[in-house]
Structure formats: C-alpha cells, structure tokens
C-alpha cells in the first residue's frame, strides 16, 4: 500500500490550514516547552535528582498531590449529586444554579483566592463559625483544599451532566419492572453508565489542581514544609534566580501532567467506545 499523508478530498485548504496550525503551535507551544527540557540537560542526572528530592520539594509534592486528590474526590462526590439534581429534579432557581456552576472557570484565580481567604479566615463568615469549634482553614493545608475544590468544581458536573441526560429511561423502567429497588437500579444500572464520565471528570479536576497557583497562594499561608505547593516553590526559586532548580522541578511537574493528559485522552476514548456500544 502506498503511504499518503492524507486521504483524497475535494475540500481545499488542507496544506494551508495544517501548515499554519503546525507553525503556530510550534512557535507558541512546542519550542517554548522544549526549552524547559533542554535547560535541564545543563544538570547531570545526580544533580537533577538531588534538586527534585530535597525534603522541602518532597513536602511540596506531598501537599500538592494530596490536596489535589482530596479536592478532586470531594468534587467527584459533590459533582455527582449536583449533576443528578440539575438533570433529574426541578426546583426554583435551577437554571441560574446551572449557569453559575461555570463561575470557577470564568472567575480569575486571584479573585477566587482573595474571596475564599476573606470567607474562610478566622474573622470571615465561614471561618468565624468554624473558629468557634476550633477549626482553622485559611493559612493551613486545609485552605489549600478549599481553594482547589473551588477552582476544579465544574469538571465532574460538566462531564456527568450530558451522560445523565442521554441515559435512556427504558433501562431504568425495565429494572424497576424486574423488581429492583431504586437503590439497586442506581447501583447496578445508572452508576456503571456514569463511571467513565466520573473518572474523566476526576482526572481533569486532579490535573487542574496540581498546576493551580493563583487561588492557593492567598489562602495557603505558604509556610515551607507545611503549606507550600510545588508551583509556588518554582516561583520562589525563579525569584532567587535559581533557574536550574526551578526548571528541574518544573520538568517533574510537566512529565506528570503529560501522563495525566494521556490518561484523560484514554479515558475519553474508553467512554466514547462504551457510549457507542
């Protein structure tokens, strides 16, 4: 078989469109990103390993990945309930709530950061109430989780919602006719259908959380070893002109992010295939 880059088509503009796409992507994304990887070749493997495994860096990974995991878990459970309520029930103000769910995508992260800090600080509306029972949120690792819950909230809701809308009522009716209780129907019929969407939403939320910077730095307190996230550590190293250190940590984050991106694509492919079948 003869190798051809593309299949024949009567539509014009393939060369122009693809050429421009590749040129622009190369200039804006690929060349700058490769700079980070090439910069790390200044370092020997042992130097690189020493930088990315100092106790302070390890503590920041632990906080970043731990808080991101918890925030994504919280959003997966809450997102399932919110998507369910928005699709299945009617209540006053539902359309407004539905529109507002996207607010964390539209609101600049710095604004989210200072608003959440004002709210969850010891003298804030929520922080004040929690202070009475001795819980501190702002300026502790808990604050990091609160900020991450906010910024990654829409992912699970928006991935589950369309799947729930497309679910056919007949299947549930059949389950009910065959004597299933409502809980059994949910557990064995509805939940398995939602699982790919839930997983995709979770991974998207998790990936967004580990890179987040703007909202977290206001609420976290930023104490090294305690409440310092990895992106902040990169910025700190940059401000000290430690370009190699910053780049080494950035490359670790980049590799993890790329693996997550691959995972997301795989999950979406899996859910599409399930959907088609």
């Amino acid at each position: 078989m003869q190798f051809r880059l593309k299949q024949r088509s009567v539509l014009p503009g393939f060369n122009l469109a693809l050429g421009y796409t590749l040129l622009y992507m190369g200039l804006i994304v690929l060349i700058p990103l490769s700079a980070a990887f090439i910069k790390t070749t200044d370092l020997s493997w042992t130097e690189f390993w020493a930088i990315v495994t100092t106790p302070r860096v390890l503590a920041s990974y632990q906080l970043t990945f731990g808080a991101s995991f918890i925030a994504a878990m919280i959003n997966t459970s809450a997102g399932l309930i919110i998507a369910w309520v928005l699709v299945r029930y009617s209540f006053p103000g539902k359309r407004l709530v539905d529109a507002m769910v996207d607010l964390p995508f539209a609101l600049p992260t710095a604004v989210a950061g200072i608003a959440l800090t004002a709210l969850y600080a010891g003298n804030g509306w929520i922080g004040g109430v929690l202070a009475l029972i001795g819980i501190k949120i702002a300026f502790t690792p808990l604050g990091v989780i609160v900020a991450l819950v906010f910024i990654s909230m829409p992912f699970v809701i928006r991935t589950v919602q369309p799947v729930l809308e497309d679910l056919e009522a007949e299947v549930e009716e059949a389950a009910a006719c065959l004597g299933a209780t409502r809980w059994q129907t949910f557990r064995w019929i509805i939940f398995p259908a939602l699982r790919p969407a839930l997983l995709t939403g979770f991974t998207l939320a998790f990936a967004r959380c580990i890179g987040e910077y703007g909202s977290v730095i206001f609420i976290a307190g930023n104490l090294p070893m305690v409440s310092e996230i990895t992106p902040l550590l990169i910025v700190t190293k940059l401000e000290q002109y430690d370009y190699r250190g910053a780049t080494a940590i950035a490359v670790v984050m980049l590799v993890i992010s790329f693996m997550l991106l691959l995972l997301i694509n795989l999950l979406q492919w899996w859910s599409r295939r399930r959907h088609a079948a």
């Binding site: 593309k6 088509s9 539509l11 014009p12 393939f14 469109a17 693809l18 421009y20 796409t21 992507m25 804006i28 994304v29 690929l30 060349i31 700058p32 990103l33 700079a35 980070a36 910069k39 809450a78 919110i82 928005l86 359309r95 529109a99 507002m100 996207d102 607010l103 995508f105 539209a106 609101l107 600049p108 992260t109 710095a110 989210a112 200072i114 608003a115 959440l116 004002a118 709210l119 509306w125 906010f150 909230m153 009522a169 009716e173 009910a176 409502r182 129907t185 990936a207 580990i210 890179g211 910077y213 703007g214 992106p231 910025v235 780049t247 950035a250 984050m253 992010s257 997550l260 991106l261």
Partner: protein, 290 residues
C-alpha cells in the same frame, strides 16, 4: 406537576424525602464554595463605602492595569481565533496520519501549570535564556515588559477556541461544503457562506471562554511581568499588589470589576447555549417537515 404519581414514575424516581435531601446537599455545597465567595467579593469591595470603591478603580495604576488587560485580550483572542479555525478545518474536514497526536498536542497548554507557562518564556527570553543576549544587544525587551505578558497570555489561552470548534465541525461533516464546491463556489466562498454560519455559536462560545481566561490569567503573567506598577501590571496582578499591601477594600474593588466581567461572560455563555438549542430545534423541525 401532576397531582398523583403513577406507579411507574414512583419506580423510576426517588421518594420526595430523598429528593429534598439531595437538592439540599447540592445547594449547601454550592453555597459554601460558590455563592458565598461571590457575595464576599462585593461585600468586601463596598464595605468601606462607595467613595473608596470608586477611588480604587479610577486610580492611575488601576486604569493602566485595565488598559494592559484589554490589550492582552485584544491581541491573544484574534491570534488564537485564527489558529482555532485553521486547526479545526484541518482536523475536522480531512483524514490524515497523526491526527490524534495533533489533537492531544493542542490540549498541552491546559495540562501545563500556569507557573510553568511563565517559566518557559523566562528560559527563552531571560537574561540567561536562549535569546536573552541577542535581545539585549538589540535593545528589545520581551521579559518583564508588555510583549512577554501578551505571549504568556497567548500560551495559556491557546487551546480554547480550537477545543470548541473541533468536535462541532467533526459532527457537522463535510457534505454541505462538498455540495457548495460541486455547485461551483470557490474555497473561500464555501468557508464564508457555509462553514462560518454553521459554526458561529461554537465560535462565539470559544471566544467568550478565551477572553475570560485572557483577562483573568494570573500565574503565567505574574512570572513574566516583573510587577512594574502602571506599566506591566494586569488587573489580576493589581489585585494581588493591593491585597499584599493590606489595601483590602481597594483590592476587592478591582476584583469586583473582574467578577462582573466573569458574570457577564456566564450570561453570554447561557445566551449562546440557548440560541444554539433554538437553532438545532428549528433544524430538527425542518427535517421533520420534509
């Protein structure tokens, strides 16, 4: 609402008690994490009175920040718009090798932390960067100046419009374009008269998302900006500076501008979704008639 509930409806829905509980849970969660933070912005902004509020907004540094933020959006959005259309045209209308790799690469900037997006431009254009010495010799400033901020904004908003257009154009297929070409239209005529009207709502939605992010970006811009007051501060950076100087009312006043902007974006988005639904319904009704 029906007064009586049929047995089948009871079998495929939850008892009212459970319904109320779930709605309650959802609303409590959204109130704690969404509505109260939103209210807090305006409460804190207006707490010291309208005088302080307007003084913070007409402050020369704030006005300079507004101008720079608008400039970033005005440059970044059209650049990514042209890219989005070109990428979607290539991906959706043709079959070629490496297509799925290309789609994954378009998503890359979403997977990169904003801080790292800033860092890579520092590595390229900084004093010790690849192009740093050459730029210094020719007296061109990119880092800690407006061009760097614009570039960082372009990077973080890179995928938005392409992401919206690719699935939409894939779904629409190529039959209408083929028909136009067979009937003698030129390539550009086909694009302007057939493709563009078909994708206008998706395009507008992508532009809205792209604009919101371009105006609100913080991490990437913060790394490349250098924080020079009145010169390289965008609105989100202005919020940070005021906040760190304990000028809370002023910080929240500037933040409230960005919040209003975000709310307008959400309203426009809802409107576009509603319009797109109407168009689809009209199209379905027409198909039914034939």
């Amino acid at each position: 609402m029906m007064a009586t509930i049929s047995p089948i409806e009871r079998a495929v829905s939850e008892p009212p008690r459970i319904r109320r509980l779930l709605i309650g849970l959802a609303l409590v969660f959204l109130t704690l994490f969404l509505f109260l933070p939103l209210a807090a912005v305006f409460y804190e902004a207006l707490r010291k009175g309208l005088g302080v509020y307007f003084a913070a907004i007409v402050d020369p540094d704030a006005l300079a920040a507004i101008r720079l933020t608008l400039l970033c959006a005005v440059i970044a959005v059209p650049l990514n718009l042209v890219f989005g259309i070109a990428a979607a045209w290539a991906v959706a209308k043709f079959e070629f090798h490496g297509k799925s790799v290309l789609i994954t690469l378009i998503d890359l900037p979403f997977a990169v932390s904003p801080v790292i997006a800033g860092l890579i431009y520092v590595l390229l254009f900084g004093a010790q960067g690849w192009l740093g010495p050459w730029l210094a010799a020719h007296d061109i400033k990119i880092l800690f100046a407006v061009p760097g901020i614009v570039l960082a904004t372009v990077f973080v908003t890179f995928p938005f419009i392409a992401r919206e257009l690719i699935p939409l154009m894939q779904e629409q297929g190529i039959q209408e374009e083929e028909a136009a070409l067979v009937l003698g239209a030129s390539g550009w005529q086909t694009f302007w008269r057939i493709t563009l009207p078909n994708i206008k709502w998706g395009l507008l939605y992508g532009v809205v998302l792209c604009t919101a992010r371009a105006m609100g970006e913080f991490g990437a811009v913060s790394v490349v900006s250098g924080h020079i007051r009145g010169a390289t501060n965008t609105l989100p950076l202005q919020v940070e500076i005021l906040y760190n100087e304990y000028q809370f009312a002023a910080a929240f006043a500037v933040a409230s501008l960005l919040t209003v902007l975000a709310l307008v974006m959400l309203a426009v988005k809802s409107l576009i979704e509603w319009q797109a639904r109407q168009t689809r319904r009209a199209a379905l009704a027409m198909k039914g008639e034939f």
